[in-house]
Symmetry: C2
Subunit: 222 residues, 2 copies
């Protein structure tokens, strides 16, 4: 198999790429990288040689001899290389821009501020306990979702942008999963909740769920 | 003038868009939004109606009736709409992906973790003082620059990708400016430093400097 994804079941950035690969109907090999065990397998020499940032995911396409990090760059690459299936970025310039901006609202302004390495730093540098770091993560999700819920009022249909699944939905669903994990009250976000429910009815989203991955460690795992 | 940029002189995300507008040779009106005064002008009703995330920058193109947030989405929009000047994203799919990933290494993994709202939250929630928050910001810059410096060893020329200025350089220069502000020792990053110096020789980068903006408050301001 020419396409490989190095990821972690609960990493929302890995989860985004899994959804995109499924939507594009691309077969791939999933290689788990455990972010906690052994001091974090992402810091191993072999992984760091693939991804010097020592973060997940890393995407490999042997046919094109490309190794890529950054979930949004990977998803745009998939969309440009595999044009025959489910376009994830619209064709028109202003629509493309709006879709990308919503994806970045999540990938730049929400996820990075509450991810594992930041929560660990709060614990070690500020003696924050698990309850505090969960509150920290939830705070930034709520801030971000407040803005997104307002934006969706002017444009949403069945999905974030009318009736097509885009990269914005691909980012929204994992972030909503993460929000539940950190106890965010999703009743404040009816449009986001509706869209996430609609997406999660699709097989591509179901198969990408953290609990459906081979490295899942939760009691929910299949 | 049909194009307006709402920004803040020291916001690196605003700084990225200023560079891109200059590289693309687009005239624009710059409208300062003070992130500190009056409790943060980004939270005013009038600004929040333009940008529900209450962050800078916001980009307006009256000719196309579009209001956009997210610096990377804005820059890709500019690149797609104004094709006659300085392409900021390469034409080939694998090159596009690598360039975007490097831009996102900065815009997703460095900048959001050390920006003003996060540093303010560390102060209010964890009683962090200015020295501690500067150390926090510097830590994430060093982490990110370590990975980027390694990537650049395989691909850099005069700029991040060979001899063309791309969206990766547009993101790197403001982040290096921010690194100096937080006392990062840039001698550990010779390739980044060389590229930043090369970029800063270009008029488009010079005119975008924080100290050359009408809302600059530093003793460096022109």
């Amino acid at each position: 198999m020419s396409i490989k994804l190095y990821g972690y079941w609960r990493s929302t950035a890995s989860y985004r790429v899994r959804i995109a690969l499924n939507l594009k109907q691309i077969d791939y090999q999933y290689i788990p990288v455990h972010l906690v065990k052994n001091g974090g397998e992402q810091h191993s020499d072999s992984y760091a040689s693939l991804n010097p940032a020592e973060l997940v995911p890393t995407f490999v396409d042997d046919d094109e001899d490309i190794i890529l990090n950054q979930s949004l760059a990977i998803i745009e690459y998939l969309d440009e290389r595999f044009t025959g299936t489910a376009p994830l970025i619209p064709a028109h310039a202003t629509e493309r821009a709006r879709v990308r901006a919503l994806a970045q609202d999540i990938a730049c302004d929400i996820q990075p501020v509450g991810n594992l390495r930041v929560l660990n730093a709060l614990k070690t540098q500020y003696n924050a306990d698990q309850k505090h770091v969960a509150k920290w993560a939830a705070h930034w999700i709520v801030q971000g979702f407040n803005g997104i819920e307002k934006r969706l009022q002017t444009q949403a249909g069945k999905y974030c942008f009318d009736f097509d699944v885009t990269i914005a939905d691909v980012c929204l669903v994992p972030q909503a999963y993460n929000a539940k994990r950190f106890g965010v009250d999703m009743s404040a976000f009816p449009l986001i909740s509706k869209i996430v429910d609609n997406c999660n009815k699709l097989d591509a989203f179901k198969r990408a769920l953290p609990e459906n991955q081979i490295d899942c460690e939760s009691e929910l795992c299949v």
